[in-house]
């Protein structure tokens, strides 16, 4: 739920206040960019998608009725832009420069950043890319962005039941796609 100050900022933005929209943009740009990155698998595409998302949001802010949270509205725009871009470019990020894959850090105190775990995430990213649009998008929103099913349903304009089914199906498929050695690499020590 938006605070009073956020609501006032939103109201001003909806009334055409450019500065107010700038405030909202700064509040949400990182999470929108993170979503765009997961959906596109490309740093450059993620920047483009994020930029386009906020441009479209700015032009259509007067259409936002405020019933849902602003971020779900922005997420929906981001999903639409990312889907269109992905369909147009038909490009899948190469393994070596996939920005989603965390960089291994030698000697890092955090075991999560070992090279082995990095390769696990690379395989996980590939597995996600192999899913259908609906399953991949839903899975990213549910498990990577960790949105509640209710919010995902709002973003995707479907029922929570559909969201749940997609998540379950995506889990099943990922489990079947990902080999045992990758699972071992992804396991937390």
């Amino acid at each position: 739920m938006a605070t009073l100050e956020e609501q006032q900022t939103l109201d001003r933005a909806r009334n055409g206040d450019r500065a107010a929209f700038g405030v909202l943009m700064r509040q949400h740009q990182r999470r929108v960019h993170r979503l765009a990155l997961q959906l596109t698998g490309s740093a450059g595409d993620a920047d483009d998608v994020t930029q386009e998302t906020f441009l479209r949001a700015y032009r259509a802010i007067h259409r936002f009725d405020g019933r849902a949270d602003l971020f779900t509205w922005l997420y929906r725009i981001c999903v639409n832009v990312a889907l269109n871009l992905r369909r147009q470019s038909k490009r899948v990020a190469a393994d070596l420069d996939d920005p989603r894959v965390p960089e291994p850090v030698d000697g890092a105190p955090d075991p999560a950043l070992t090279a082995e775990r990095t390769s696990g995430y690379r395989a996980l990213a590939r597995a996600l890319d192999s899913l259908s649009e609906s399953l991949r998008t839903t899975m990213v929103l549910a498990c990577v962005e960790q949105l509640p099913y209710k919010d995902i349903a709002e973003v995707l304009g479907c029922s929570e039941g559909t969201v749940a089914w997609r998540v379950h199906e995506a889990r099943r498929k990922l489990r079947e796609i990902i080999p045992a050695d990758v699972l071992a690499a992804l396991e937390e020590p």
């Binding site: 055409g16 450019r18 929209f21 700038g22 943009m25 740009q29 960019h33 993170r34 994020t50 930029q51 998302t53 906020f54 441009l55 479209r56 700015y58 032009r59 259509a60 259409r63 936002f64 929906r76 725009i77 999903v79 639409n80 832009v81 889907l83 369909r87 920005p99 989603r100 999560a112 995430y121 259908s132 649009e133 609906s134 399953l135 998008t137 899975m139 498990c143 990577v144 960790q146 995707l156 479907c158 929570e160 039941g161 559909t162 749940a164 089914w165 997609r166 379950h168 199906e169 889990r171 099943r172 990922l174 489990r175 079947e176 990902i178 045992a180 699972l183 992804l186 396991e187 937390e188």
Partner: protein, 518 residues
Amino acid sequence: MDDPLKLKIAASLDLPTDAAADPEVARALADDPEAREFARGLHTIESALRSWPAPTRSDRDWEAFTARLDAKLDEASRERAKARKGKKVSNEPDPAAIPVFTDATPTNPESKQAMSEPQENDADLENLAALTRTSTVPVGMPVASVRPSMASITDSVDDTSSGIVDIKKLAAIAREEAAKPAPAAVAKAPEAPAEKPVAKAAKTDDVMVTPARAATPAPTLDAPQRKGGSTLWGAIGGMALMAGAFAIYTNMQQGPSSDATNPAAPAAAEAPQPAAAPEAPSAPSVAAPAPAEAPAPAEAPAPVAAPAPPPQAEAEAAMAQRAVTDTAAATAESRHATNEPVPQARARAGASTPHSAREERAAPRPAAVEAPAAPVAAPAPTPAPRAAAAPAAPPAAGGARSVDDLMNRVAGANGAAQAAAPAPAAELPERPTRGQITSVLSGLNNAVRTCTAGQTGTAPVAIVISNDGSVSSANVSGQFAGSAAGECISGVVGRAHFPRFRANEVRITYPFVILPPR
């Protein structure tokens, strides 16, 4: 493993740690190493997704990105201003339109998610059932008609794909059933759920609740006002009647499900020896079906349907007849049952063991059986398998003209009845429904979580539930087996208490899936 099972296992990751998983999943996780490995892999993937490291970008890069975006927004702002001056109307499509995916999606994914949201459905049904318990049943409402309606409706609306129930259809069926002789229909009704596993019983419960709102002939209060008799008013009136009927039905079979602190108490109301379960062949009260099943209570696999013994049908028919005779009395009875003070009930029951007021409400129900007072009189704190029959009661036979009469007789004669009373066995379900099991086990949430002390994983628990609702045994397997956490979980589950049922016992394996907190 087949895909449906894999999907169910995948769905179980969404359940809170204390929620009841699908029985099939529970069995698979307990018995099938492949299933356990599959589940383990799912957990690994889920955990990896949730802890996916976010790519880092320096603040400087973010500032540059923000500056570029600001520039774009400023440009858009100027364009907007120009458009307004030129009074141009924007024809841009809504960027926040619902996303359309190009891949084929299931035509009815909600049907497939039914298994992933059973607790919700069950919770909704429980809430609905709670509403119906407070409904008033108009005079003349044939209570027995609820069961035959449920039997036929179950058959006709056994559709997992939509979950939509046609109220008008239910109303029509209820009206038809109301016109039929109740006994034969009632005799059939209990057998339907008896043949289905616990998971299916939940569906029966779904249907059982709905008909409570379905139309039966409009109550006399409303009907005269609408002699024109629109279907809508008939349906509303019928729903009110059915709600009241269901309230009575539910109250009559409501057992000591809330008594987690005194699980043995209800047991006292029932014969410790299954074979000694009092039977009143001549009594119109519902004879305990358990005696026929008693010989091997420990062997009863759960969830398995025990065949309803023939005498039960006859006894149930008689019971149905009595129930039909005085609906107003039944209403009063249900109120009486809910309002009866504990001391009064205790005095009548002659029980010495304190028990909850809720159990006391159940006490004065008509006894399912008559005879041997001896085994019945002795409170049996241990959850030994016993007949579902109620403790001895005076002949509830032919002289009973109302449910109130039955209750009073039982209350007066039942010296052994401690709490949970003996609702007539035929009124008890064959086994607890999935929703009931879920409801009880969900109450163990905090305790189980405390037992595992932050550890995650799956803790399958093999539970044996006696027909008095107590837990005979709770054995933890899997990663927590033999550990302090496992013993703790076993103890927690062992103190749970379920609603009473007819079968000797029910065996389930229930996996507590313990995930990291979100």
